[in-house]
Symmetry: C2
Subunit: 347 residues, 2 copies
């Protein structure tokens, strides 16, 4: 531990300011480094193409609870959340590595379940498992996945390319994974307090699948490419819409106006939000784990992009000085403040 007198707690900074503070002193030395820290993936110049690299750490007790998370689903999701970052660069994933810290509670058959999920994801998204590291863990189950992807030069999309008047678009719907998590947490508590009660999860298959077995949005991305639409900026929605909008605004040096009633929310997620007394848009804005894509396109793509089923236009980009705002149907504009899921927060 540090011997210095000053002690700044992590929650005082939060995840993104912490990363800035820790990585700012680093200089770029390699000519092949095109993009370092600060986008969905790092970008390396490989001569005749770009290679992207992204990595995610999933820790037991923070990112998943083995009480209700089937290991096969966990293996699948561990891969998909990384591939989602590759797609968010408009790149194609090609390889992954999977490293595991294995707690004593897990046996070989458990790990086979986990790898069955990894394999399913590899087959579905056509990527190869090419390495990793395996170790015992004194504590919880630790998963570290790195995904590699590629793109022809000129194809990549960064967080930094949004221009004033661009349309803000989102794939699929938002908030469902968060409502699935709330349901799982509630049923876990009921199960633990009333022994023998079977969790009641019927009728909630969609929101549970969104939490436990998310997919990466390759299909809609392919449709965009086929229609000749290249987003000006893109990011995957892992921390919640608010947080990702602010990333786009900060990196592109722009503002935004997003219309609350345009945010796509699934009916099942909306019903569950009502059951919990949560405003569905709050789940969409701050819930996270949706793995949908948030992107911007030039205004003249309105017709083309609107014709793709599963893509919603939710707002537009404004001048940086105009700030980042949510616009309700009635009432005053709401300034967007990041409240995305932040594992470093104070308890």
């Amino acid at each position: 531990m540090s011997n210095k007198n000053k002690r700044t707690e992590l929650y005082e900074l939060g995840e993104f300011r912490l990363i800035d503070r820790l990585t700012d002193p680093f200089k770029k030395n390699q000519p092949t480094t095109i993009m370092g820290v600060g986008d969905d993936a790092a970008v390396i110049d490989a001569g005749n193409k770009h290679i992207v690299i992204t990595t995610d750490l999933l820790l037991e007790g923070i990112h998943f609870d083995l009480t209700y998370f089937p290991l096969k689903h966990l293996g699948y999701k561990s891969v998909v959340v990384n591939l989602s970052d590759v797609y968010a660069m408009n790149a194609t994933p090609t390889q992954i590595t999977v490293s595991l810290g294995i707690s004593k509670r897990l046996c070989v058959e458990d790990l086979e379940e986990f790898y069955a999920g990894v394999k399913l994801a590899c087959e579905k998204y056509n990527v190869d498992l090419v390495g990793g590291d395996t170790s015992a863990s004194m504590t919880g189950f630790t998963i570290s996945v790195t995904a590699i992807g590629e793109a022809p030069k000129g194809k990549l999309v960064f967080r930094s390319g949004a221009k004033v008047n661009d349309l803000i678009c989102v794939t699929g719907n938002l908030g469902a994974a968060y409502m699935g998590l709330q349901l799982l947490e509630r049923e876990k508590k009921i199960f633990q307090s009333t022994s023998g009660t079977k969790p009641d999860l019927t009728g909630h298959e969609y929101i549970l699948e969104r939490m436990l077995k998310p997919e990466a949005q390759v299909g809609l991305l392919t449709q965009l490419n086929e229609k000749g639409i290249k987003p000006t900026s893109m990011i995957d929605i892992s921390d919640g819409l608010s947080s990702e909008l602010l990333h786009i605004c900060k990196n592109s040096k722009v503002g935004c106006r997003v219309y609350l009633e345009k945010i796509p929310i699934d009916q099942e997620a909306s019903n569950m939000a009502a059951e919990f007394g949560i405003e569905p848009t709050i789940a969409a804005l701050n819930g996270g784990e949706d793995y949908e894509l948030l992107f911007t396109v030039p205004l003249n793509n309105l017709e083309k992009v609107s014709s793709i089923k599963g893509i919603s236009v939710i707002g537009h980009i404004t001048d940086e000085n105009a700030g980042a705002y949510l616009v309700p149907e009635n009432g005053d504009d709401i300034k967007i403040v990041a409240q995305g899921w932040n594992s470093l927060k104070k308890e």
Copy 2:
């Protein structure tokens, strides 16, 4: 957890058989995947060059003890152990990603210490920090580093190329890191049982540095390249000489004869081994964490390779049927059995 009846404990398989069992079902689908699981790094065809990728997980309580491991050293070592894998492919490291699971005990200033070590390693080995992931950890400090490197096509060296009659060579010396660890563990116990006693580490700087701040063997590799020697096979010594010899033999389908008295051991390590009543060659064979390079070269390179200070010729490759043996000065040959550091062993 698995619902099946059978429960195979991890220690029944050990790390390498476990990895084989988990990864065997995976097929290679991507044409750019040249080498997957089974060498120091994965290899990707990037068109006009090869890109290598390797990853290591370091977990508190398993791989390091913060009682005596300064965070700056830990940051440095976390990078170097990965770069060592890149060099073991005869490639040049270019970028790294660093992911951290941060326990509540650590504050921002602690992490700055850690990153100061990461930065030092990046500068020394000329690599860029290009990404990572940061999260809270409910339990111990978790470090996952991925290193990327590159090599012109035809330059990479695999574990699988050793041929009968090749010379077996090793850089530097072996067993010192293990003796450094033994010393640290002893002084920790004394410190904990007799409050106020200051650990006595003077005169042991070399073995401590080998444990706490190892270097990757790029200098000797450069000399080999300059002399026009391309190893036929290579691996870095992270688990101990025995384990790595068996990897070379298995992957190259050969046997080996290694002469015990030829194994290079530093005097300070040898003295400390004597203090602990440990045979120094046992520390070299099974201790691990040396991050030296074990490699083979054709027999006609004997003169050239012997002329490089810091490289020892310790034996030669034999036919597969002859098996893998250690040869003592007096007495019978000893069959090599992997006893490398195995974090999955039963306690």
